[in-house]
Subunit: 205 residues, 8 copies
Amino acid sequence: ARSGFEEVIFCQGKQTQHLVEIYKHFYEHDSNVLGTRASREQYEAVKEVLPMAQYDEMSKVLSIYSKERELTGCVAVCTGGTSDIPVAEEAAQTAEFFGAKVKRIYDVGVAGIHRLLSKVDVIEDANCIIAVAGMEGALAGVVAGLVDKPVIAVPTSVGYGANFGGLSALLTMLNSCAEGIAVVNIDNGFGAGYMATQINRLAER
Amino acid sequence: ARSGFEEVIFCQGKQTQHLVEIYKHFYEHDSNVLGTRASREQYEAVKEVLPMAQYDEMSKVLSIYSKERELTGCVAVCTGGTSDIPVAEEAAQTAEFFGAKVKRIYDVGVAGIHRLLSKVDVIEDANCIIAVAGMEGALAGVVAGLVDKPVIAVPTSVGYGANFGGLSALLTMLNSCAEGIAVVNIDNGFGAGYMATQINRLAER
Amino acid sequence: ARSGFEEVIFCQGKQTQHLVEIYKHFYEHDSNVLGTRASREQYEAVKEVLPMAQYDEMSKVLSIYSKERELTGCVAVCTGGTSDIPVAEEAAQTAEFFGAKVKRIYDVGVAGIHRLLSKVDVIEDANCIIAVAGMEGALAGVVAGLVDKPVIAVPTSVGYGANFGGLSALLTMLNSCAEGIAVVNIDNGFGAGYMATQINRLAER
Amino acid sequence: ARSGFEEVIFCQGKQTQHLVEIYKHFYEHDSNVLGTRASREQYEAVKEVLPMAQYDEMSKVLSIYSKERELTGCVAVCTGGTSDIPVAEEAAQTAEFFGAKVKRIYDVGVAGIHRLLSKVDVIEDANCIIAVAGMEGALAGVVAGLVDKPVIAVPTSVGYGANFGGLSALLTMLNSCAEGIAVVNIDNGFGAGYMATQINRLAER
Amino acid sequence: ARSGFEEVIFCQGKQTQHLVEIYKHFYEHDSNVLGTRASREQYEAVKEVLPMAQYDEMSKVLSIYSKERELTGCVAVCTGGTSDIPVAEEAAQTAEFFGAKVKRIYDVGVAGIHRLLSKVDVIEDANCIIAVAGMEGALAGVVAGLVDKPVIAVPTSVGYGANFGGLSALLTMLNSCAEGIAVVNIDNGFGAGYMATQINRLAER
Amino acid sequence: ARSGFEEVIFCQGKQTQHLVEIYKHFYEHDSNVLGTRASREQYEAVKEVLPMAQYDEMSKVLSIYSKERELTGCVAVCTGGTSDIPVAEEAAQTAEFFGAKVKRIYDVGVAGIHRLLSKVDVIEDANCIIAVAGMEGALAGVVAGLVDKPVIAVPTSVGYGANFGGLSALLTMLNSCAEGIAVVNIDNGFGAGYMATQINRLAER
Amino acid sequence: ARSGFEEVIFCQGKQTQHLVEIYKHFYEHDSNVLGTRASREQYEAVKEVLPMAQYDEMSKVLSIYSKERELTGCVAVCTGGTSDIPVAEEAAQTAEFFGAKVKRIYDVGVAGIHRLLSKVDVIEDANCIIAVAGMEGALAGVVAGLVDKPVIAVPTSVGYGANFGGLSALLTMLNSCAEGIAVVNIDNGFGAGYMATQINRLAER
Amino acid sequence: ARSGFEEVIFCQGKQTQHLVEIYKHFYEHDSNVLGTRASREQYEAVKEVLPMAQYDEMSKVLSIYSKERELTGCVAVCTGGTSDIPVAEEAAQTAEFFGAKVKRIYDVGVAGIHRLLSKVDVIEDANCIIAVAGMEGALAGVVAGLVDKPVIAVPTSVGYGANFGGLSALLTMLNSCAEGIAVVNIDNGFGAGYMATQINRLAER
Ligand SMILES: Nc1ncnc2c1ncn2[C@@H]1O[C@H](COP(=O)(O)O)[C@@H](O)[C@H]1O
Ligand SMILES: Nc1ncnc2c1ncn2[C@@H]1O[C@H](COP(=O)(O)O)[C@@H](O)[C@H]1O
Ligand SMILES: Nc1ncnc2c1ncn2[C@@H]1O[C@H](COP(=O)(O)O)[C@@H](O)[C@H]1O
Ligand SMILES: Nc1ncnc2c1ncn2[C@@H]1O[C@H](COP(=O)(O)O)[C@@H](O)[C@H]1O
Ligand SMILES: [Mg+2]
Ligand SMILES: [Mg+2]
Ligand SMILES: [Mg+2]
Ligand SMILES: [Mg+2]
Ligand SMILES: [Mg+2]
Ligand SMILES: [Mg+2]
Ligand SMILES: [Mg+2]
Ligand SMILES: [Mg+2]
C-alpha cells in the first residue's frame, strides 16, 4: 500500500511461519494491517505473537488496528442472498479498513424484487455501491438501473450445476444493459472494497 | 404434429424446391401450416404455388391458415429489449398458431425495472409467461419472482463480447433463484411457444 | 412461498444453528416446511428441536408436515438410470409437498428403449412429465416425442469424462428436436418439481 | 491409401490448379480416386482435364471410378434428420468407394422413435452401423441399445444456439450409456465411412 | 438517461427508419443525443433529417450536440495498441458527451513499457483511468499498479488465435493482482466512458 | 447384456448392499459377471457372499467366472505411458471377459517413437487396436497411420494443467488425420473393450 | 525492433493509407522492413510508393530488403500437412529476415510417420526446430522426441469440427510428454520465427 | 534422457515400490537422477534404499547427484509472486541438474513494475529467461519487451475465480504482443527448465 499506514496481505496459501513474520514486520513499520482469506490456524499463530490481532470467521479477515482512523463518506454493500455474505464482508471490511463508512443491505436478490426496491433510498445515498451475487447474478444490473452511482459488481461462486464456479454470475454482470457497472473477479470482495474506497475518497475530498 | 390439423416446418437450410413440396403436401393433407426461420426467398417460392401463404418479416414465420381456429386462454410474451422481438414473435405466433391468445409486453428489461413493475397485473393474468432476453438475461428470473405462473425462459443471442452467442443469458436463466422457470435453447422462440400452448391448453380444458 | 402454508429452505451451506432457527420460525408461522440438500448433521440438529422433522437420505429432503394436504392431479417423474434417483426424488417430493400426486418411472434410459416404451401409457396420463437423466441425457427428448404433455428436463451430474459435471446432458436437453421440452439447472430437482406443480395446478383447477 | 487402387483427397482449401494435378497424378497411377469436400468450382476444373470425374452436389464428393469394384457385406447409414444427409452421404459414398454395400435409413431421429423402431430389422443385418445426427445427437445411443453391432457415431454441426457448432451432439455421443459406440469428429463422414469399411472387410473376409 | 438533457442510443442492429425516429424524438425533447455503434448508412439517413448530426468514423459515434456543456475534471484513456483506438474513442467520446475532460494516451502497451512509464505523470492527474487493451490485455494491471486512482479496464476483441474474441484480455484483467481495477464487457467503450464520468463527477462536485 | 451368459455392472457409486444383491442375482441366473470401477470395499463385501469373486486392484475390475469361455481372435491394447495402464486394463479385461484374446503393448508413447515402431508387427496382427493415452494423446493417430485395422482411441484423464481432465487427449484423437480411428469417452476402457470385442467377433466368425 | 536495421509491421487491420506511411517512415530510417498478414490490396498501395516492396501471396509477407544481410546457422521448419504451409512460410521468412538460414521440411505429419523419420538427419542439424501443425497437432511432440534441440510448436487453425479454431492442436502441443517444446499462439508463425532466430543467434555467436 | 548420465522421473502418481526400483535402476546405471513432483512419503521410501537422495520440500524435487557436473552459462528465473516459487524452483533445479547456472529473481510481478525494472540488468545477462506467473500472467510479456533473449513463459495455477486453474495466465502468455516468448503447460517448471538448458548449451558451446 502506498498510503503510508496500511498494509494488505493475501493470506491464502502462505506458510504459517512466513505469514507471522510478514504481520510482525508490517506491524512494526506501519501499524494497521489487513489480511484476507486467512484460516483460523493462521489467526492462532499470528495472535500468539501479536495479541491485538482480530479475526472475523465469516469474512476470513485477520486484521490489526493500532492507529485509529476516522471513517468518511459512504459505500453501500448489497448481496443477493445470505450465502454471499462472506464475500460481501470481505468487501465491507476492506472498505472500512481503508477509511470508508459502509452500509450493509444483505439478502435483497431479484427473485423477490420488492425487498430491494424498499431499500433504494438508502442505497442512493452512497457514493458507490458494491453488488455481490452468485447464481444468476442479476442484482448488479438491477441496482445500476435504479441508482445513478458507480456499481462495482462482485460475482460469487455460490450456486451449483451450470453456474460453473461463478462463471454464470460473472457473465451476467459483464453483459448487463444498465449504465454504470464494472466487474471484479469471482469472490474478489477485497478488490471491490479497495476500488470503492478510491471512489469514495474522490467524492469526499 | 399429432393434433390433426396443424403441421410445423423448420425452414432454415432447406432447399427451396424441397420446401415448396413439403408445404404443398401439408397444405393438401392438413390445412394449417407453420414454417419458422423462413427466408424471403423461400416465401416467394412458396407463394408462387400457394398464394394464400403469409410471411412475417420480423419473426421469419411463413404460415398458411386455411382452417379457422378459436383462440383460448392467455400466454404472456415479454422481452428485455427491442432487439429480442424477432425471437419473441416466433414464440407468440407459434402459440397463436396452436390456439392460444397472446399478450405482448415488450422492452421491459431489468435495467429500467419500473416499466416491468407497471405491467405485473397484466402478466399475472396469463396461464403461462414466455420471457425473452439477451445480454444479461435477467428478465426471466425477475418475472418468475413477481408472478406465480410457470415461466418459460428464452435466451437470445443478442449482445456482444462476453455474451458468447447467447451463452451468458442462457446461464443466467438456468441459474435463476426464482421459483417456476425452465429454459429452452438460445433463440428458440418456437420451442417456448409450443410448450406454452401445452400449458395453456391444460389450464383451459 | 406465496401460498400461505408452505415454506422452502435451501439447506446446503447454511450453518446449523442458523438453519434450526429458520425451521423453528417457519414451523411456528406456517406449518409445512420443505428443506432440500440437507445433510444428516443438519437433520439431527433440527430434530432435536422439532422432533416431527422427517429426513429422506436418498433425496436429502428434510421436511415438516403439520397441516395435511390433499394431493391432486398427476406428475410423472422418469429417470434414465438408478444413479439419477436422488435428483428425481428431490423433484418428486417437492411436487408432493406442493400438492401433486406423483408417479415414479425409474431406470428407463434410452440404451434399453423397450423398458421406456412399455411405460408410455402410464406417462401419458400425467399432466406434466419430469425427465431426469445424466450422461447422454437423451431420455427427455425421447419422452417428449412420445407424449404430448409438457416435459421438464433435469440434467444430472451423473457420469464421468466428457460429461463435464452435467454439461453434456444439459446441452442434449437444450438441443432436443422434440416438441414440448424446457430445461432446469443441472441436478435441480426442486426447480423441476416446483414448476411441475404449477402446471399440474393449472390443469386441475 | 495403402490398398493399391484407391486414393483419397481432402479437397477443401486446396488451390484449384494444385488439386487438378493431384487428381491427374492419382488417376494415372492408381485409377480410382475419392475427393471429399469438393466445391463445384473444383469439380468444373477437374472435369475439364478428366471428363470421367463425377460430382455429387449433396455430399461434395468428387470421384473417379476407372477400375470396377464389387461391393460386399453391409454397412447401415442412419440419420436423425434430413439436414444430416450431406454428412451421411459423405460416409456412405466413402464406404462404397472402399467396397462396402450400404443401406441408407434416413430421417429416423429419436423425437419420433417409432420410425426408427420399424427399421430395426434392416439395421440389424448390417456388419456395422454409422449413426449421423446433429442437435441433441441421441440417435447413436438409441441405435446401439437396439442392435449388437458396432456403431460409429458422427455428430453433425446441424443446429443452432447451445449446440455450439456440433459440440452438443458430440458430447451426447461420447457420453452414451449404450454398449458398442465410438465417435468421430463433427461432420467427419469420411472418417466414419472409412472405419466402417475396415470393420465390414473383417466381417466378410 | 436520467440527467435531463442527454440521451443514449445503441444503434447497432436498429432498422434505419426506426433509428431516425428515435433521433428525431430525442432531439426534439432533449437536445443532446449520443448514438454508439452507428454505421455510415445510419449516419446518412439521420443527417438527411437532422443536418447537425456528427459522425466519427473511427468510434462509430453518431451524435447531436445542441446544448452546450462545460467539461470538468479529467478522465485518462489509455490503449495498448493502435488497433484498440476505436474502442477507446467510444469511451472517450462518451465521457466527453457526459461532461468529462478527457486525456488520450494511446499505444502505450506493455511490450514496450518505457513509453507507458514516461506518461505516468499525466495519467496520475486524472480522477479515473480507462485502460483499453486486446491480446494479452496486461496494460490495465500495470497502470493500476503505477497509479492510485480507479482503473476501468476494457478488454478488446483485437487479436487472433487463442484470444478467442477477447476472452484472453478479459481474463487477464479480471485476474489482475494490482489494486483498484474493475472490468467491463469486451469492446464496451461506452460502459467504461459512462462509469468514468460518474466517478469524475463525484470527484468534481 | 444380450448374449446369454455374461452380465456387466458399473459399480462406481452403487451402495454396497445393493451391489452385493446384483452380483448374487446375476451369478445365480447367468454365471459370468463383470463389474467395473469397483472399490476394494465393494470387493470385500461381494467376496463375503460369493467367495469365487476376483478383484484386480489396477483395473478395479471385480469379476466372477463360473462358466469357462474360449478366447478367440486378437485385440491389441497399447498405452502411451504407464499411468494409462489402469484404463488399458479395464479395456483388456473387458475384451477378455467377452471372449477376445488380448495382446498388451504398454508404454509406447510418441515421445519415444522407436519403441512403438519396434512393435508394429505385433500390433498389425490384431483384428482391432485399442489405443489408450493421456496428456497429448497422439498415440492413437500414429498407430492408425501405421496399421490398416480399426483403432478405438481412449483418451485418459492422465496429465495436469491444460489437459483439462482429459479434454486435451480427447480433442487430439477426434482431430486425428489418420484413417480408421474412432473415439470413446475419457477413461472409458470398458466401452473400448466392448466395441473391440464386437469387431473381433465379426472378424472371427 | 531493437537491432538497428530491421523493423516489423503487423499489417492486418491497418488502414491502407496509415500502413503506407509506416512503410515509408521505416524505409527511410531503417532500410529493411518486414510486414506480416498483409493483403494484396495493401501490397498494391505500398508498391505504388515503394516499388522495391516484395509480396509473397502464400505467407502474406510484404517486405522491403534494402540492406543485404548474410544468413547464418540453421532453423528447420516442419509442417504436418500442406495446409499448414502459409503459417510455416510466415515463420520461415521471419527467420530469414532476421538472419537465419532456414530448411523447409513440409508435409511430414504423423499419420504417415515414415516420411518424417526419413528426414530426422536433416532436422537434427538445425539449431532450433519450428513444428507447424493443425488438426491433432501431434507433429511437435514426435519431433521433440526424436531430436535434442529446442522445438517451437505452432498450432494452426487448420481443421474443422472439434478443432475449435486451433484449440485442439494448441492443447496437444502444450500437453506433449516430450522434452524441449514450447508453444506460441495459434497461427503465430511470426512469433516462432522470431524466437527461433534468437536461439539461432545464441548458437552461432 | 539421451545424454548418458542424467535420468528424469515424473514421480507424481507412481506407486512407491515401483518408484524406488526406478531410482535404484537409474542410480546403478547412470548416477545422476532427477525426480519431479515427488511427495515426502516417496522421498522417505527412496532414502531408505538410497541414503544420498536429496529432497526439496518447496519444489518437490527428489534428486541424486553422484557424478559432479560443472555449471555453465546463465538462465534467469523470474516469478510474479511468492506463490509461484514452487514452480520456479522446479524449473531452476531442472536447469541446474542439466548443467546451467541459474539466477533467481523472484516476486517481481507487474503490479509493482519498478521492482522488475530495477532487475533488468541482471536479467539481460542471461542466455535465456524463464518467466513464471499465475493470475494475470503479464510478467512474461513485460520481460520479453525489456530484454532481447528468448523467454520461456510458465503459467501457474495460482489464483482463484476466473483464473480457471491457470487458463487465464496461459492465455495471457500465448497472446503476448512482445517478441520472443513461447509457453509451456500450466505449472510445467520441468519443461521450461529443460528447454532453457537446451538454449543455454547452444549459447555456451
Ligand atoms: N472429409 C474428410 N475429413 C477428414 N479427413 C479426410 C476427409 N477426407 C479425406 N480425409 C483424409 O485426408 C487425407 C488426404 O489429405 P490430403 O493429403 O490433404 O488430400 C486422406 O488420406 C484422409 O485421411
Ligand atoms: N456501445 C454500447 N455498449 C453497450 N451498451 C450501450 C452502448 N451504447 C449504448 N448502450 C446502452 O444502450 C442503452 C440504449 O439502448 P437502446 O434503448 O436499445 O437504444 C443506453 O441507455 C445504454 O445503456
Ligand atoms: N466403466 C464403464 N464405463 C461406462 N459404462 C460402463 C462401464 N462399465 C459398465 N458400463 C455400462 O454400464 C451398464 C451397467 O450399468 P448399471 O445398470 O448401472 O450397472 C453396462 O451395461 C455397461 O453398458
Ligand atoms: N514436472 C514434469 N512435468 C512434465 N513432464 C515431466 C515432469 N517431470 C518429468 N517429466 C517428463 O516425464 C518423463 C519421465 O516420465 P516417466 O517415464 O513417467 O517417469 C521425463 O523424461 C520428462 O520428459
Ligand atoms: Mg446506474
Ligand atoms: Mg414464480
Ligand atoms: Mg411432446
Ligand atoms: Mg449395441
Ligand atoms: Mg492502483
Ligand atoms: Mg490406419
Ligand atoms: Mg527433444
Ligand atoms: Mg524480447
